[in-house]
């Protein structure tokens, strides 16, 4: 299992670095729409890390968590886009 653990550790590092870059842009980012889509990206990155941790800990429940999270992700995007749009429909 050494190969698996090594590659999954590398994947978590890659995703973490990507999240750090996205967070930097979210802090610096000039407008709210950019922050909205970056929050969506970070949401899916966290779900990916949860799935990888589920592999490492041999937890089967991660599929339920990831499925619920992925299906609820558009709600956050829609809510934040309403904020960008100042509540207009």
């Amino acid at each position: 299992m050494t190969i698996l653990y090594t590659t999954l550790g590398m994947t978590i590092a890659l995703i973490g670095f990507g999240m750090a870059l996205a967070l930097y842009r979210a802090i610096v980012g000039p407008d709210g729409a950019s922050r909205t889509i970056i929050s969506d990206l970070i949401f899916f990155s966290v779900l990916s890390i949860i799935a990888l941790i589920g592999i490492l800990t041999h937890a089967s429940v991660v599929f339920d968590i990831v499925l619920i999270g992925a299906l609820l992700a558009p709600i956050t995007t829609v809510a934040l886009s309403r904020v960008v749009n100042r509540g207009h429909r």
Binding site: M1, I3, L4, T6, T7, L8, M10, T11, I12, A13, L14, I15, F17, G18, M19, A20, L21, A22, Y24, R25, D31, A33, S34, T36, I37, I38, D40, L41, F44, S45, L47, S48, A51, L52, G54, I55, H58, S60, V62, F63, D64, V66, L67, A70, L71, A73, P74, I75, T76, T77, V78, L80, S81, R82, V84, N85, R86, H88, R89
Partner: protein, 163 residues
């Protein structure tokens, strides 16, 4: 495969396959993080987020599914959950992106000069000439000069004004 406490041992080649799939997904997410910094406006960033959300994330979950099936045996619940994930997840994310794009359009965010909007108003059809000219005049983000048209300007409000 040997079984220890109900958990099977993964073969080396399967570990390599899972690792390649997972690293591919991780690279796509990292690539998207880089693209967020290279993009110059929010509309481009929305388009740049697609590789991570629609390909990278399902690849990571696919790696988790293969590992789960290799360690604990094939469980149809997890396969159904994975199918739901890769079918309904992108549909929901596309709806969210569409809503966000609509919000950006109504908010009239500032776009980079090199960004091509490529909306339906740029299609050259004869009956849409006057409306296209009036919309370009209303657009704050457009940096190009409004082309002069021979016909009279339209008195109808643009879609952004209706909203």
């Amino acid at each position: 495969m040997s079984s220890v406490n109900g958990m099977n041992e993964m073969s080396t080649w399967l570990q390599v396959v899972v690792g390649i799939i997972a690293i591919s997904g991780g690279i796509l997410i990292l690539d998207t993080g880089l693209a967020m910094n290279r993009a110059r406006d929010a509309l481009t960033r929305v388009n740049m987020a697609s590789p991570a959300i629609y390909v990278g994330f399902p690849l990571v979950v696919l790696a988790a599914l293969i590992t789960d099936c290799a360690l604990w045996g094939v469980q149809w619940q997890h396969i159904v959950e994975f199918i739901l994930l890769v079918t309904l997840g992108p549909i929901g994310s596309a709806m969210g992106s569409m809503h966000l794009g609509r919000a950006m359009m109504l908010d009239q965010i500032e776009l980079d000069a090199r960004t091509l909007r490529e909306d339906l108003r740029t299609i050259k059809v004869p009956h849409a000439r006057t409306e296209r000219a009036s919309d370009q005049a209303d657009s704050v983000s457009s940096t190009e000069p409004v082309p002069s048209t021979e016909s009279a300007p339209s008195t109808e409000p643009s879609p952004t004004d209706k909203a």
